[in-house]
Amino acid sequence: MKYVNDSIKKIDSDALLRGKGVYTDDLSPKDALWIKVVRSPHAFAKILTVDDRLTMRVPGVEMVLTYKDIKRIPFTRAGQNYPEFSPYDKFILDEYVRHVGDDVAIVVAENEKSAEMGAKRLKVDYEVLEPLLDFTIAEGHSTLVHPEEDNFIPVDSAGYQREKNLAGEIGFDIGDIDEALEQSDVVIRTTYESQAQAQSMMETQRAFSYEDVYGRLVVVSATQVPFHLRRTLARALDLPMSKIRVIKPRIGGGFGSKQSVHAEVYPALVTKLTGKPSKIVYTRKEVFKGTTSRHKMRFEVTLGATKDGDLLGIKMNGLSDTGAYGEHANTTMGTTGKKVMPIYNKVKASSFHGKAVYTNNLPGGAFRGYGVTQGTFALESAMNELAEKLKMDPVKLRERNMIKKGETTPLYNLIREGLPPEPVYMNSCELEACVKRGKERFQWDERNRRIEREKDFLKKKGKARGTGMAIAQQGSGLPKVDMAGATIKLNDDGFFTLLVGATDLGTGCDTILSQIAADALEVSMDKINIHAADTDLSPFDSGAYASSTTYTSGNAVIEACRKMRVLITEYAAKVLEEDEEDVSFQQGKILTSAGKELSLEEFSKVITYSLVYEQLTATGSFVPKIPVPPYMAGFAEVEVDLDTGKVELLDFVGAVDCGTAINPALARVQAEGGIVQGIGLALFEDVNVSSKGKLKNNSFMQYKIPARNDLHRIQIELIEGHDDTGPFGAKAIGEIVVNTPSPAIIEAICQAAGVRIRSLPATPEKVWKAMNNRHYVPEK
């Protein structure tokens, strides 16, 4: 029985769809104290006084905590590998508030309503300061978002300069970019901007905590990063890490939002102070204004090419708005450069420079795609402009310049310091197949001819259609950074417990890792019981981010299973009194060359109860050694209403190279879901603030995410590939899929209506104004 490459149902789907109480809030103790956060109405202010007399009179309110009650320890909420490339610029509570929605105080009460009422009655006096909201003038501005001097960054070379409002800076140059541009027949200079986008997972941030029987602090949380959470809490709360246990139950989606440490600090703090269980459940409003969103970014792109369409140089200058806090500021910008640029490997020179600045806007954070989405939008849109200028088919322009199987570029060696200097060859790159098969499925040439034929007919109806395409790559885990462990234990009836720290946030990785383990051990899947994640029991795993789980954690599972097979053979030889060479473990059975056979059930009973008295356990660890990018090509057809500017996406084809799809059904859903998030980014999602920094859209009524009736046809083509370093040939799929919709759709709008929208999202208002030659000024 083989499980890899089979569309097995998710092993938790029955519990989820029957509505079992398996998520964080379902499991919280009935007597837990409720916590509510009082949030700032101002974008930038200093807290002068807090008067809690009215709050304390609310029946059921137990306590109010402000910055004065909490030890001042700078930390970062980033939830990244240690040491973080993010500044330690956050305090659990601080005397400054730096964005509308920033935490001012917490109110603790017996029940939710009392906590809410208490929070409403807290009287806070502020010295309101002039906020810095325009990220284009933030660097070196006289308004300092972080005037406090106890901030620092725990790494060198991340470009953090608090006194200049710089949260991070990154840059690299390969070759002489000026020379390459000089030699070019055609040069494109253009600027693209992408907006802040809200992750919008269905389950909001939530956590509860209690003291266990040994007096240790247990935190149960909907988190993507249980181990980073434990380390972050230890620092923020000034507790030894050994005194904290983090448990992750089922999670209702995350998309990066739950990589940052937000809600957890409050219940952990309250339980530490009171010894009582406590809980917090963020409202949707709080998620919008009190957590993070995709970094708003602007890129100036310069491309140089010969008149035949050979790309000679790419230059990108980026600016990112990290908002009030610098979590993920440096790393999203760095990822952009290192994972966007290498896709065109034939250039003579590449130059990438980017800065992330502090403002008093909502903080940026991790969101699926992590800078690569923003950078791909800019670079691929510029490529489409180049194709237009060269009067060349954009598919042909890509085919001429993109990386192909077996090729390399020194840019891949830049992805992480410490990578070997030898060239990294893209032996599993199926980008060519992605473009070819995507083009066929989309019927690119036929469709463009049909659109040309129907042009006049459609125009009479006030409509126009167009097509666009884009290519992208991402990563599979972070080479030489993020590691995963897996432990496998043989139980006394021939079944295994698989302990992993990997975090299934709805992606199905518990299922996928079980499929991998079953095939690696050659046993049936019902012999594998997976358990994840609990920092007391699970081996270390960096967590669910950077498209790492299938590749990184999957490889750790394979390594653990390989070691377990060695152990089984070794101990079976003892039990059977044979030489090890004469014993093998195949198809779930122990066989000897003399023809003896021992089932795993019998073997496990014998070694547990009678002969050897040994618990067999094996642990595997894995860290990616080289970049292993997944690739994608996306094709879009839109219809633009020429009277209103409304854009309908009629069809989208995504051809994805994720190596072996461990579970094709789940891979396909990853692709469909990611593409739809990319469509939201392209057409309407926009975290919008007023001129005072106040969020305009803080609910799903005003912040629109794609609903069923916004979508027409979405087609997925999974390209069969195989990466020799991946588990059974697999690469990642989680993030790559969100990258191509925005550039492909923006190009399709341009082909249809003759207007190029350079700042996302392409709302009807923007498209209409562009069509009517009116300069679009965002509403303040």
Binding site: L16, M202, V676, S699, M701, N709
Partner: protein
Amino acid sequence: MKINININGREKEIEIAPDDYLSEVLRKEGYLGVKKGCDTESCGVCTIHLNDVAVLSCGTLAAKAHGKSVTTIEGVDKKAERIRHEMAKRGVDQCGFCGPGTIMSILYLERVTTNPTDSEIKRYLKGNLCRCSGYVGQLEAVKSYLEGGHNEVCE
């Protein structure tokens, strides 16, 4: 105040506050399949049936349910077996947080429509947001379910 509700076929007398919403009351009573996602009646994860009509329990005052019957996902365990299967075999349950509410809407759609078109299905279910799946496989699952559930996953 006390209200009487029939929940999943069982008569219950429940103590509530006048401003309690049905979603919270049901969760306190142990019906944890009723999720909370938005507090503004705009995500659909709290969908239940009130007197056999699909409603959003986070926007329905508990007092309004007095004397009425409420059906939650726990009350359709057997009935929803086939739609669960159709969703799970396509992997479109994903994080599962929107699953129970979506299933309650699908069962309502099944009851009040005959041979719905794709756009009718989308219209009936548009209030059930899902951020994971992209809806494509969910539409296939609903269609296959309504047709009798014999279609295999089409790739």
